[in-house]
Structure formats: C-alpha cells, structure tokens
C-alpha cells in the first residue's frame, strides 16, 4: 500500500515513469472492464484511452484516503461508461442485443463450450446494475472482494452476497434460449 501511495505521489508530480507504470499495470484490466460493460471492443479501445487521458488531467486533484488507487481508476472508467451510454441513448444505433448470437443459438460454439465476452455482456444486461458491476469488477478487472467493496462503497460481506446472486443470475441469462 505504501509503495502504491508513493507511486501515486510521483504520478501527481507528473513523473513520466510513475504515470507509465500506472498505465501499464491497469490498461488491460480497464479495457476488459469496459468491454464487459458495453459489449463493444472497438468503442472500449477508445474509451480506455480516454480514461487514461482523464487520469493525467485529474490525478493532481486525487486525494489519498487509504483506499486502493484502483478504486479511483474504476470510478473514472465508470463515469466514462455512463457518459458513453448517455450519449449512445441519444443517437440511433444497433442495440447490443442484436449484434451477437446467444451461446445456445450457435451449436458450433456451444459444442466448443466457449463463450465470448460480448455474449457475457449481453447476458449481463439482465442483471441488476449492482450485479453487473460486481461481475465486471471481479471477472474482467479481476479486483479482489476488498477492492470491489471500496469501488462500490459496500461491505465485503455485501459484495460476496451480491457476487453469489450475480453468478446465479448470469448462469440463468447465459443458458440456451435465455438470450434472444
């Protein structure tokens, strides 16, 4: 934690190496988190890039409060997603649900037992917002329960319970015939 605090302090002074370290350590995880939330890899690339540009702009105002730095990063990413979805709702686009095939509808893929992230993203739309957030943070960003609790402002016990109900709901949503 102290190492992280020191890294963030150097980043706040615009130390190029510190900022690059933060970028390298988090880029892929933030990308996966966004893909799972929006179900579009290309949009997620642009948004991931924008998240880190926003980090550069905002890091000087970041205040260390003993919480993992990642919780701040994921809040920025979350805000970016909310902004994207708000803008998207104002322009006519092909809904995400129509762009991918459900697992159960594709015999070849079902036989291989492999699902794609876009399919998970579609299925996750049937979950509550909090359940979606837990799935994205645990499985895409690979945060610990303690970190997820910080990001979501909940207790670890509440996150574990949410995680349980989210997996049950996701299993149901991913079952053949559940997604149309």
């Amino acid at each position: 934690m102290q190492d992280e605090q020191s890294l963030v302090r150097r980043a706040q002074q615009h130390d190029e190496m510190a900022l690059t370290q933060i970028y390298e350590e988090n880029f892929d995880r933030i990308y996966r988190y966004i893909v799972l939330k929006i179900g579009d890899r290309t949009e997620a690339e642009d948004m991931t890039q924008q998240v880190f540009l926003n980090v550069i702009k905002a890091i000087s105002s970041y205040k260390w409060q003993g919480m993992p730095f990642s919780s701040w990063l994921y809040r920025i990413a979350h805000n970016q997603i909310v902004d994207f979805l708000r803008k998207k709702s104002k322009r006519p686009t092909v809904p995400i649900d129509e762009t991918v095939t459900a697992v159960g509808d594709d015999p070849e893929r079902s036989a291989l037992g492999r699902i794609e992230i876009e399919e998970v993203a579609v299925a996750a739309k049937r979950l509550t917002t909090a359940q979606q957030e837990v799935i994205s943070l645990r499985f895409a960003a690979e945060l610990s329960v303690a970190e997820v609790a910080e990001v979501m402002g909940k207790s670890e016990g509440a996150v574990k319970a949410l995680q349980h109900s989210a997996i049950v709901a996701l299993r149901k949503a991913l079952s053949p015939g559940a997604v149309s």
Partner: protein, 326 residues
C-alpha cells in the same frame, strides 16, 4: 443467514482460486459437501473468466501508449508555459506581436525554414500565432491552421531525412492540434462555412483511396483509421452543365447564376469554403503519401515516430474533412 454467509465465503474462496489458475475440480474437492451447489456456479464463473480473458489489439495498444506518453509530456510543458498563459488573451497577443516586431522581419523570414529544436523555431511559432490573432474570420483561421499543419508535416519529413526522431512526436502532436482547430472552427460555426453544398466530385463515395507506396501497403503497426476518408482521384474540375441549346458551358447554369447574383457575398464565401476543402483534401492526399514514403525508407530508429505521425495525420485529416463536409 449464517449458512448463506458461509456459502458466500466458500464461493468467494473458490472464485479467488479460479482467478489464481486452479481448476473447478480442485475447488470442488475442497468442499465435497457443497459440490453440487458450487459446481454450476463455478462453471459459469470459469466460462466468464475465459470470455473476459481478452486484450486490446496490439496496434491499438501501441498507438494508445504513444498518445498517453505524448499527453504526459504535454502536461509539464503546459505548466511551464507560464508567461503567455498568465496574460489575458489580448495582452498575450500584444506581447507576441511585440516579440515578433522586435525580432525584426529578417529574423522572422529566416525562422520560416527553421525546424523544431532550432533557436529560431520559437520565432516561427510566434509569427504563426500573430497571424492567427490578426485573422478575424473563422474561415481565415481554419485556412491558416490547415497551412500550419501542412508545414508541420514538412518539418516531420525534414527531421526524418536528417535522421532526427527526437522531436517528431511533439511536432506530430502540434499538427494534430492544428487540424483539430480546423475541425472545431468548421464545427463551431457552420454558418460561416455554409452548408455542405459541395458537388459530387467531392463526395467520399466518388473518391479513390490514398495510394500507398509500392510494393508494400500500410505498415502493420499502423492502425486502421476508425473511418476511411478517401480523396478524389484528381483535382476536382469545375462543374460542366449542358445548356438547352445542346452546347456545353463551363461553370454555373443561368439558374445558378441568378442565385449567385442575389447572394453575391454568400457565393464568395462558398468559394472560399470550397477552396479550403480542396486545400485540405490535397494536403490529406499528398501528406499521407509523403509520410508513408518516408516511413517505407526509414531506419528502425525512426519508424515508431513516423508510424505515429502517419496514424495521427490520417485520423486528424479525416476528422477535419468530416467536419468540413458534413
């Protein structure tokens, strides 16, 4: 409730083990009494973990990293600028004019050929700022920014020819800012630019793609643009219309002339706007080709900077054209 909490804890422990690379079977063997309830949940979790095990495209990663690093370099530079940013915009303009006047016309002329890193280069940039400050119309500012972006491309090519990659990224970012200004000026005040009343020669569907140097095409590390903007196969020619008597007249039809008479000022503005579009299209065509040719023959040390320049130029010109055409 206690039992539920206990199961939540076991499930979480197993998930943590899956994240660490353990198998579902290994987790189930630890808790045989919960195996039937755990198994379907862990299978779903494992499928989700596998699905989420994706990475961004390598070419995007490279481009994003370079943009991030360029942005990191830009932050301290913005803070160090100090002098002019502390002054109110009007005072800053006066200060720049004074510097240019004090430097003298000869120095300014000499600075015109300078490259980034040379002692005269700040004079060159200052004189560009003065020209922008003294240009009142958005259209005029857009033309100037397009011309300055063109000059940045020339500087990148000259620096590459000199084998100096150190300031290519910075010059590329400056070019991007200037093309962004063109796009913003076009987007901010459509009335100053008129509506997109361009003839079909300019329509993207009628344009041929920018040729890439033979024998190879785009370098593999250069990402595909988010949208393909093409250029005309040749410089657009004036519209040719067929009058009622069957002869061919070059220029506008009688009906069009009537409209032009009533809207003389608007027509002249339209002409200026069309000139700007043509200028940027030609720049797009020629600059992309020149940069790609430079990249083709560049030694390995210069390639990353030139790949970045090609990718940024492609995207920035496409964005400017997008705002000018639509």
């Amino acid at each position: 409730m206690k039992q539920m909490n206990e199961f939540d804890n076991i499930l979480d422990e197993c998930l943590q083990r899956l994240l660490a690379g353990e198998t579902v079977e290994s987790c189930l063997s630890r808790y045989p009494q919960h195996a039937s309830e755990l198994e379907p949940l862990l299978r779903t979790a494992q499928d989700t973990l596998k699905a989420a095990d994706i990475k961004p495209r390598p070419e995007f990663r490279d481009l994003a990293r370079r943009r991030f690093q360029a942005a990191v370099r830009e932050v301290p530079r913005l803070e160090k600028r100090g002098l002019f940013t502390l002054l109110r915009p009007g005072l800053a303009t006066v200060a720049i004019i004074a510097i240019v006047l004090l430097a003298g016309g000869g120095v300014v002329a000499a600075a015109g050929n300078s490259l980034p890193g040379s002692p005269l280069y700040p004079v060159k940039l200052a004189s560009e700022s003065v020209r922008l400050a003294l240009t009142p119309s958005d259209l005029g500012k857009a033309e100037l920014n397009a011309a300055f972006a063109d000059e940045r491309v020339n500087e990148i090519i000259r620096m590459a020819e000199n084998g100096d990659a150190s300031l290519i990224d910075e010059t590329t970012d400056r070019m991007n800012d200037q093309l962004l200004a063109v796009a913003n000026l076009a987007g901010n005040d459509k009335s100053a630019f008129g509506e997109a009343s361009f003839s079909t020669e300019y329509a993207p569907s009628a344009m041929a793609p920018v040729p890439t140097p033979t024998p190879t095409s785009m370098p593999t590390a250069t990402p595909a643009p988010t949208r393909t903007i093409a250029t005309p196969s040749a410089t657009p020619s004036p519209t040719v219309v067929e009058p009622p008597d069957g002869g061919l007249l070059e220029g506008t039809s009688p009906v069009q002339e009537g409209v032009a008479d009533r809207n003389g000022a608007a027509a002249s503005e339209d002409d200026a706007e069309a000139d700007l579009r043509e200028m940027i299209l030609l720049q797009y065509y020629e600059n992309l080709q020149a940069l790609r040719e430079q990249l083709e023959q560049a030694p390995p040390a210069l390639r990353p900077a030139l790949e970045y320049a090609v990718a940024v130029a492609e995207e920035a010109y496409a964005r400017a054209l997008d705002d000018l055409f639509y």
